[in-house]
């Protein structure tokens, strides 16, 4: 199946000379939830802004449903709804008024029924006639989501939707996102929080310094996450591991003092007990041992830090 959004060789250099994106390649599939993770200034907003038409790319192309975002901007933008990172709304407009405006702006005929549904889904119906400046921050963010959904987009971009949002509302939001996905909407969201990406996404991409460091199915990442490592420090160094340890797939360090055993915590038998007793039988004496878990957090941290520990 061809991708719904295809980003190829995309680069962005701002007028200040700052290079915010370096040769980014990315395919987004129809109907998936993609989470983009990355530290402050990684280029997440820049990437989204280019796809939505707010920032001009310096190099490279983006197609949405086969249409070029610059040449065929009418086709591509009609399909997209954007909830930007910053809360920017017309303070004096009502919630209802601003949704109606958004729908019109995206070229759709007025449809009060749809707007009512959107506002109800966002628990904003009782606030529909309130001026936006009279709403709380969390409500404003929901109004922004409502604006993005007003024209029934097939693709929804959420740029840090949970910044400044309480736990309760966050749950509601994820519920809504899942419902939208079930109705066929493709969702791309950015976040700083790994748990969020884990909870909601089908696929996770990590951006750092304007480059996509990794992009993978979440289940694949979870499999890595499910791995644990047991590191054994030996009293005497070994030149080579005895043959009977081959089934354990052990790794011996260069100096022959450390053995690393990678195992699956979800497995019924991890093999730790048998490994230890076998080592004992062979007469290999241990000095110390430790276990480490490579969490998504670790993967993330090692990926985004310039010098891994």
């Amino acid at each position: 199946m061809c991708p719904l959004i295809s980003v190829s060789n995309l680069s962005k250099t701002y007028a200040s000379g700052f290079v915010a994106l370096k040769n980014v390649n990315l395919d987004i599939k129809q109907g998936e939830i993609l989470a983009l993770l990355g530290p402050n200034g990684a280029g997440k907003t820049t990437l989204i802004s280019i796809i939505c038409g707010i920032v001009n790319p310096t190099e490279g192309t983006v197609t949405v449903n086969g249409h070029d975002i610059i040449k065929d901007y009418r086709q591509t933008r009609k399909m997209i709804g954007l909830v930007p990172q910053e809360l920017t709304t017309d303070a004096f407009e009502t919630a209802w008024g601003t949704l109606r405006f958004s729908r019109g702006l995206f070229g759709k005929k007025a449809n009060p029924k749809h707007l009512e549904k959107v506002l109800r889904d966002l628990s904003l119906w009782d606030k529909k006639d309130s001026k936006i400046r009279e709403l709380s921050g969390g409500m404003k963010r929901r109004v922004m989501i409502g604006k993005a959904l007003a024209h029934e987009p097939e693709i929804l971009f959420l740029d840090e939707p949970t910044a400044g949002v309480d736990v309760e509302l966050r749950k509601d939001m994820w519920h809504l996102v899942k419902e939208l996905r079930n109705s066929g909407v493709t969702i791309i969201l950015t976040t700083h929080y790994i748990e969020e990406a884990e909870e909601i996404a089908d696929r996770v991409g990590v951006i750092n310094h304007g480059e996509i460091v990794v992009i993978e199915e979440k289940t694949e990442l979870m499999r890595k996450l499910g791995k644990k490592q047991l590191t054994l420090e030996l009293q005497q160094s070994l030149d080579q591991l005895p043959a009977e340890f081959r089934p354990y797939n052990l790794e011996l360090s260069q100096d022959g003092r450390l053995i690393t055993f990678t195992y699956d915590i979800h497995a019924e038998r991890t093999g730790i007990t048998s490994l230890l007793s076998q080592l004992n039988e062979t007469g290999i004496r241990l000095k110390d041992l430790k276990t480490t878990q490579s969490s998504l957090e670790d993967i993330f941290v090692t990926l985004v830090k310039d010098e891994p520990e």
Binding site: A15, C52, N56, L82, T88, R103, G104, L105, G107, K108
Partner: protein, 253 residues
């Protein structure tokens, strides 16, 4: 053409005017009325007629033009500057609309506002000074052309300005002096010959002269020339908008 988008912008802007009706309608009407009171009733009776017209009536077309010009510019420039300033411009940029549709929505709304305002001032003036309009259709034509042209001009200023000072700069330093020296309060042949020549370089003169002719059939320059000049300004403003669009306007990174 994204008709719904143009209408959405237009409606949004009209709604904004109605929300701020005091500032956008009542206050210019009151301030213009003060001119009618001061120059029409109070001082006007001591000033002799110009071209056979009572001074109070003579200044009516010029004052309407003055309001029309300044209101068109300030309405249109503010309407596009404000979304840039607040950040709500993101939605316009991400919407399936062309720059022309955006311009049409904002300029259309600004022109509507200032033309309606011009008509209100006209009606108000009638309360203070008696006058007749000789050529109502010509009057309407000048009103519409001027409203549209200077709303376009204001839109260009609003796109260009990236801070409040720049937004005020041209209206204050260029437009204000030109409107005051454009023959709103006097007839050009009351000036010394040298200044008469200089005044011919003032574009506002042609607007005021044409507009006044539609009232009283007296003019500083011929009505055809007035019409030609305003059409020329309209073309210049359209070209400016086109040029801004071509060269990448100042709202995108």
């Amino acid at each position: 053409m994204n008709y719904y988008a143009v209408m959405a912008i237009y409606r949004f802007e009209i709604a904004r005017t109605l929300r701020t009706i005091f500032q956008s309608v009542v206050s210019p009407v009151i301030s213009t009325s003060l001119y009618f009171v001061v120059f029409g009733a109070a001082i006007g009776s001591r000033i002799s007629d110009i071209d056979g017209i009572v001074y109070g009536a003579f200044i009516v077309p010029g004052l309407i033009m003055l309001s029309l010009l300044t209101q068109s510019i300030s309405n249109a420039s503010f309407s596009i500057f404000f979304p840039k300033f607040m950040g709500t411009i993101y939605e316009l940029l991400s919407a399936p609309v062309s720059f022309y549709e955006i311009a049409l929505g904002y300029v259309g709304a600004a022109a509507t506002k200032s033309i309606v305002l011009g008509l209100i001032i006209l009606a108000t003036a009638r309360l203070f000074v008696p006058f007749e309009i000789a050529h109502p259709y010509w009057m309407a034509l000048f009103l519409v052309l001027t409203g549209v042209t200077f709303s376009l001009f204001g839109f260009v200023i609003g796109i260009w300005a990236d801070n409040f000072e720049k937004l005020q700069l041209i209206p204050l330093l260029v437009v204000m002096p030109l409107t005051f020296l454009g023959g709103s309060f006097y007839s050009v042949d009351m000036l010394p010959p040298f200044w008469q020549k200089v005044t011919l370089f003032n574009p506002v003169l042609y607007l005021v002269s044409g507009f006044r002719w539609s009232f009283y059939e007296v003019a500083d320059v011929s009505v055809g020339l007035s019409l030609a000049m305003i059409s020329l300004f309209l073309c210049i403003c359209l070209t400016l908008v086109w040029w801004i669009f071509k060269t990448g306007y100042q709202i995108k990174n």
